[in-house]
């Protein structure tokens, strides 16, 4: 249990770091050039890890189903939707909805046990837990404007 949470925390921390890095690239190179670079880097890193940990097993793709090959398109859809959402709604509102949709979808998949997941029955406790997390997100995102630290905002080193 604890290991699972720990792994999720590692993933979340790295998502944050990656987002910050990608935003820096995005500001100079545009969103599709950035997306292409990011996925290319992800491919090289994953292939390298696969070769290190699985060796020749990397290329024994025995039970491939057709949709496995196109599931990478989901990531491209994500980028498109996020860019459009932010353009139309602004970052705060858009990101709040994205986060809530992530949680709602997670709850749906757990309860239904789709795509080979171990089914986790939907209980009132689960719904309350998710609602409290959602409320936390809303407080985090909308609870008062955050102040930029003006005196040190001019940072010539970066």
């Amino acid at each position: 249990m604890l290991l699972g949470i720990l792994l999720a925390v590692v993933a979340g921390s790295l998502v944050s770091l990656q987002t910050v890095f990608n935003n820096q690239v995005n500001a100079r190179a545009g969103s599709w050039a950035t997306t292409t670079l990011v996925l290319g880097m992800g491919f090289i890193a994953s292939l390298t890890a696969s070769l290190i940990f699985e060796g020749k097993g990397t290329f024994s793709l025995q039970h491939m189903q057709l949709w496995y090959w196109v599931s990478g398109a989901i990531g491209v859809g994500v980028v498109f939707c996020l860019v459009q959402g932010i353009r139309l709604l602004g970052p705060t509102f858009s990101t709040s909805i994205v986060l809530i949709a992530q949680l709602a979808t997670a709850l749906l998949f757990d309860s239904a046990g789709w795509l080979g997941l171990e089914r986790i029955p939907l209980t009132p406790g689960k719904i309350i837990g998710v609602l409290v997390v959602v409320a936390g997100i809303l407080v985090f995102k909308f609870g008062g404007r955050r102040k930029t630290v003006v005196e040190e905002s001019a940072n010539p080193s970066v």
Partner: protein, 141 residues
């Protein structure tokens, strides 16, 4: 309204990505799943880039080299997320992941790391994070 639909779909797809990676991992292994999804995503994004031509490769030269490697983190992210889903399910994984994500983003904003404009911490952000952690504890009960 259109913006809300895009945001909802985007969020749903982020979770779907994790679930799909988990499913593919069961057949061919987690690192292989990461490799294939990143490769096909890369090819598709490159095609879109060729069509819309919004990017400039020159732009990459103006970015600190470190930032260009952000994408490489995806391999560890995918691996950790898939493993987490197998241990604790999707809901708990996504909840813990989001809390960590917001906390680290918050820390980066607070310290002004990686060229991010520094921002002060306010009480609502702190309360929001505590509420989210409370929610995860309820989920675990």
């Amino acid at each position: 309204m259109k913006g809300i639909l895009f945001a909802l779909l985007g969020g749903a797809c982020i979770t779907l990505q994790g679930v799909a990676n988990n499913r593919i991992s069961q057949d061919i292994g987690t690192w292989q799943a990461a490799t294939i999804t990143q490769l096909t995503g890369f090819i598709l994004a490159a095609l879109v880039l060729l069509i819309v031509r919004d990017g400039s490769w020159q732009g990459f030269k103006q970015v600190k080299p470190l930032y260009l490697f952000g994408g490489a983190l995806a391999s560890i992210i995918i691996y950790s997320e898939v493993m987490a889903i197998q241990y604790v399910g999707v809901t708990l994984t996504v909840s813990a992941l989001l809390i960590a994500q917001l906390c680290v983003t918050f820390l980066i904003d607070l310290r002004g790391w990686f060229g991010v404009v520094r921002q002060k911490m306010t009480m609502p952000q702190f309360i929001g994070i505590l509420m989210m952690i409370g929610g995860v504890i309820i989920l675990k009960l």
